[in-house]
Amino acid sequence: MTDEPHDTSTAAGARTSPEPVGPVTLRVADGPLFAPVLSRVVSMVLARADCPVDRLDDMLILCDALAAHAPAHSRDGHISLRIDTRAGMIELRVAELGRGEASELVADAQLPDVGNVIERFSDSCRIEPAADGAGEELVLDLRFGTPPGGRGR
């Protein structure tokens, strides 16, 4: 008997695309819990979105970078994220950052001989004001859909 519930919604032998998880909001205390929870939740969201494994690897590298650097920029000892998938892409939004903290978080992810991990492994990296006006959010997009007639990445 396996540990996880199985998707029994498909006919015997058939395999259909799983339904996306939907938007997930995650708020984790700054500490040892953050990295393992983030990587497992993101992995599940991407698996549900039929993300290829090479892009899953890229996203997990991004998660490692966030786990290493986001706690230094959290406002109240917690890190807030919103994870959402759309057709062929995932958006990971690091919320509740103070003013100026998002750009500092990105800058912290610079590695010698590698470059900036966040900028290098995401397809889009932008900073947006928080909806409540109290701070800002770092928004990372990662695309994994294959465009018509072309290869994804």
Partner: protein
């Protein structure tokens, strides 16, 4: 007290696996005993399944929220939804064993509504033998 872990996602059956994985990570981090972790995940699965099946029956799935807080050697997990509350369901497809099962797997369980009038199931687990340094 601010929870150590808060998760909110649509109340869909397939999302319960994600919640189980998140609590697997929590159990690994806290070095929770394997049997206790299995009990925790089963109780949490039951509570979340109740939300999926009953809270938003005959309408679009609403939010399923889970909080976890570690304090004084105990893990408190609260499962919330915006449904009508926990009421008898004579026509339910289940065996009606969900809540008794949760009660048997937890140190304590409380059913109620929070300050925002959301339905909540509050479960407490004793983390005996676990590494409590995280708290």
């Amino acid at each position: 007290m601010t929870p150590d872990l808060q998760l909110s996602l649509p109340a869909r059956a397939q999302n319960i696996a994600l919640i189980r994985h998140a609590f697997g990570a929590l159990g690994d981090t806290l070095a929770v005993d394997e049997q206790l972790l299995a009990d925790m995940r089963l109780a949490i699965t039951e509570a979340c399944s109740n939300v999926v099946v009953h809270a938003y029956a005959d309408r679009e799935p609403g939010p399923l929220e889970i909080d976890a807080t570690v304090s004084d050697g105990k893990l408190t997990v609260v499962v919330r939804d915006e449904g009508p509350g926990i009421v008898p369901h004579p026509g339910s497809p289940g065996l009606g064993l969900g809540l008794p099962l949760i009660a048997s797997l937890t140190e304590s369980v409380e059913l109620g509504r929070d300050e925002l009038d959301r339905t909540e199931v509050r479960m407490t687990f004793a983390l005996s033998g676990a590494d409590h340094r995280h708290a």
